[in-house]
Amino acid sequence: MSLADVTEKGRRLHLGIATDGAGSHPAAWRYPGASPGELFSAAYYVGLAREAERAGFDFLTIDDSFAPQSDWPQDARGRFDALQLAARIAPATTRVGIVPTVTVTHTEPFHVSTGLATLDFISLGRAGWQLKISGSDADARLFGRKGLAPPGEMYAEALEAAEVVTGLWDTWEDDAEIRHSVTGRFIDNKKLHYLDFQGRFFSVRGPSITPRPPQGRLVVVVGLDHPEALPVAAEMADLVRVPAADAGEAAEVRARVRDAVSGVGRDPDSVAVLADIEVTLGATAAEASAALTELDRLAGRPYVPAGFSFAGPPAGLADLLEHWFTARAADGFVLRPTVLPVGLTALADEVVPLLAGRGLIEAASGEGAPATTLRERLGLPAAENRFTALTGGPRSSGGHP
């Protein structure tokens, strides 16, 4: 089932939730409803993941960077390695997609590939990958291998890394393990492939040490944090995250993404564009605005979120999402609560039911929904193995593991 099929039957929007620390606002940890003493506890993030699952979000995202997020003394800082945290959350959930950020500027593509594939095994096919560069000088100094390159170079390197990460997933065909006791062969080594990647930035031989993950290819998410990210999104992304100031800008960026995707020979309907929306809910617009003002006051400096910031009542948010979606400004959203866990609970209880009631998402996407792979849940096309054509095996995977 492709996105185009979904469109014919009644287009549904994709709904992701950012579950980072105390929330997206730098002063979130000081706000009522936050859990500032829990930010380094596994139980806190498991709780967020279960809440996101109960609510019916398609997936949750976990952001990451090597350097601390902030050097403002009054900001919360520090975080776990996102892939580690994702793997810790996965066995404690059964339906929600789990999408950690894994950076590619200072890391080894081989480890990134096996780490993400393993997350897909642990989550039984619910894993995604938010591909990011490490774009700060502070990140570069923590490795000391190379200085900060211009964005174009970093994204060119990221594209190579993504080719290797996803290419290694294909180096094992799905039916490579044969366990043929008569001939004593555990694997059919004709179904294992050398990647032999040679790029401008590095070369990697392969095959992977890890068999092909259950989804074949994890859901790849690329954020348009920088114009140079567009070619990476066009080549690699299943989901593109867009920080847009309003519906008009989002529609323009969506059109640009679709053009770029077509430009590299991919079907634009196989890629969904998701708008980032920061969310502060209140019973009334005035109450929500007051909360945001108070958060800014606590932060001690003007804070400008990336993308659109919504402050208002639940029905207002549902209206906004419906408008952006029906106006084709976005195929879905990643909601970023300013304060966690209280902001997530409010979305779960007051906004998601409205979206379901309007038929914008599946009515039973939360509790009771069947466990599927994340690709299936998002209606993404099954992942073809680039090597399988050579040996004539089954052409795709992405079904139940």
């Binding site: 380094f40 200072h106 923590l142 555990f186 694997i187």
Partner: protein
């Protein structure tokens, strides 16, 4: 003298890339599915084991140019990711990763390890390994350029950097004081600056001190140099299996070295690999053991083994027949081949018999009834040949079940193995002192000038 008998430490390892695993006895997918790892880890935890251990191969073995070895279990998960998953389905069991100091960067790996220590409540160990093989390096940006000496220099600096990062947040750094608006106490996070031969790093770590501060450090010390590094740096030596006498000599040699570094006899544990074959009677166990040895070496494996020595195709030979009468392709192999011929002739061995003798070791395999195996293991530990064992079951993932059901109670009855956990931290399971941080009395030596530069070792000139 001890008031109570010396306590045995137990771990289970799932290792890949050898003929150890009897894969014909398990179901498809069982070497990679998360449910298998869960079963093995939960069984170990049910048996009150100290830890679960994974080894790592960073490139699949090959039997020839561009031909992956196809007779063994191949395919393994990313170790740090799978252990983080296992932290979710266990509560006390230690989780020990083999991670390579050559093909990782210290900031990234130190952060993953600290994350896992937080996420598991203090259960992490790190088996530090190095590689100097170009062939493995072909899978990595870094390539395989490190020579033998430099890989230890790099490992030493790697550990120095990692320790600095793990300790860089003061113990009470996080205040999370909402009223005062202080999340992290002023000056509580050290900006780490390290300028060594291998690493030039500066910046701040993203994690508070983890429950154990440092993971339990394992070092695979077999060579004299490896033993010295272990004595200076490690909390545990993971070593190859030895018979009782050799084990005692090794144990005494490593433990004696500890004093040089201001460490006590019990500050370092020695745990060799081991396995077991159980039977209702001794005779049954022996039969099973012999059967397993042959099962590990299929007829094809036996031929493949000889092909590696002969350096040519021997697929036309009968595995149950005599050794090939052809000369090896490589003249350098002639001496080996004539030695093998003599041995086969003397003991009337077929190709497969010989391969079984040479590739399937009897050392380190405890064979007998549950009670006998418990006695053998206990004797080995009480007579100071080791502090315990890293057990490698033959069948994944169910091979540990019978050990936990039958041998563990025997050990508990003898008062030499815990009947329940007393802590959730691996360091405590192993009876190790707290991590030696920079402020503590027995801080680890500066490794760049310490044990990694073992005296007298020749370092190749650049």
């Amino acid at each position: 003298m001890r008031d109570k008998p010396k306590q045995i430490h137990l771990a289970v390892v799932y290792s890949v890339g050898s003929n150890h695993n009897l894969w014909t006895r398990s179901q498809p997918g069982t070497h990679i599915d998360f449910s298998s790892f869960t079963h093995l880890a939960q069984t170990a935890e049910r048996g009150k084991f100290d830890f679960f251990f994974l080894t790592e191969l960073l490139r699949l073995r090959e039997k020839g140019p561009r031909a992956i070895e196809d007779h063994e279990v191949a395919g393994s998960p990313n170790i740090m990711a799978i252990l983080a998953g296992l932290a979710a389905v266990t509560t006390h069991l230690g989780l020990v990763a083999t991670d390579n100091a050559t093909f990782n960067e210290p900031y990234d790996l130190a952060r993953q390890i600290a994350s896992l220590d937080h996420l598991s409540g203090g259960r992490v160990g790190w088996n530090v390994v190095t590689t100097n093989v170009d062939w493995v390096g072909e899978n990595f940006r870094r390539g395989g350029y490190l020579d033998y000496g430099d890989r230890y220099l790099r490992a030493g600096e790697f550990l120095d950097v990692a320790r600095r990062l793990w300790e860089s947040w003061a113990e009470d750094a996080v205040e999370a004081d909402v009223a005062r608006g202080v999340f992290v106490r002023d000056d509580a996070i050290e900006t780490v600056a390290y300028h060594g031969k291998q690493f030039d790093i500066s910046g701040q770590f993203t994690l508070p001190r983890s429950p154990q501060v440092h993971p339990v450090l394992l070092w695979a010390g077999n060579s004299s140099e490896g033993r010295e590094i272990a004595a200076a740096q490690a909390d545990m030596v993971f070593c190859k299996e030895r018979d009782l006498e050799d084990g005692q000599a090794f144990y005494a040699d490593v433990k004696r070295r500890l004093a040089r570094y201001g460490r006590a006899w019990d500050d370092l544990k020695i745990m060799p690999g081991a396995s077991y074959v159980l039977g209702d009677t001794e005779e049954e166990a022996r039969e099973r053991a012999e059967h397993i040895r042959r099962e590990q070496v299929s007829p094809q494996t036996a031929i493949a083994f000889l092909e590696q020595i002969w350096g040519q195709d021997l697929s036309g030979y009968d595995p149950d027949g005599p050794l090939p009468d052809v000369k090896p392709a490589d003249p350098a192999a002639r001496a080996t081949v004539s030695k093998l011929r003599a041995e086969a002739k003397q003991h009337h061995l077929s190709i497969r018999d010989l391969a079984v003798e040479l590739t399937s070791s009897k050392t380190g395999v405890f064979v007998g009834t549950a009670s006998q195996v418990a006695d053998q293991m206990n004797e080995y530990v009480q007579r100071d040949a080791s502090d315990g064992f890293v057990l490698a079951p033959f069948v994944q993932p169910t091979g540990l079940d019978e050990f936990v059901d039958r041998v563990v109670p025997e050990l508990q009855e003898r008062g030499v193995f815990r009947s329940d956990y007393e802590s959730t931290r691996l360091r405590d399971h192993l009876g190790l002192p707290p991590a030696r941080t920079a402020g503590s009395q027995t801080a680890p030596p500066q490794t760049t000038k310490g044990a990694f530069d073992a005296p007298g070792r020749q370092r190749p000139s650049p």
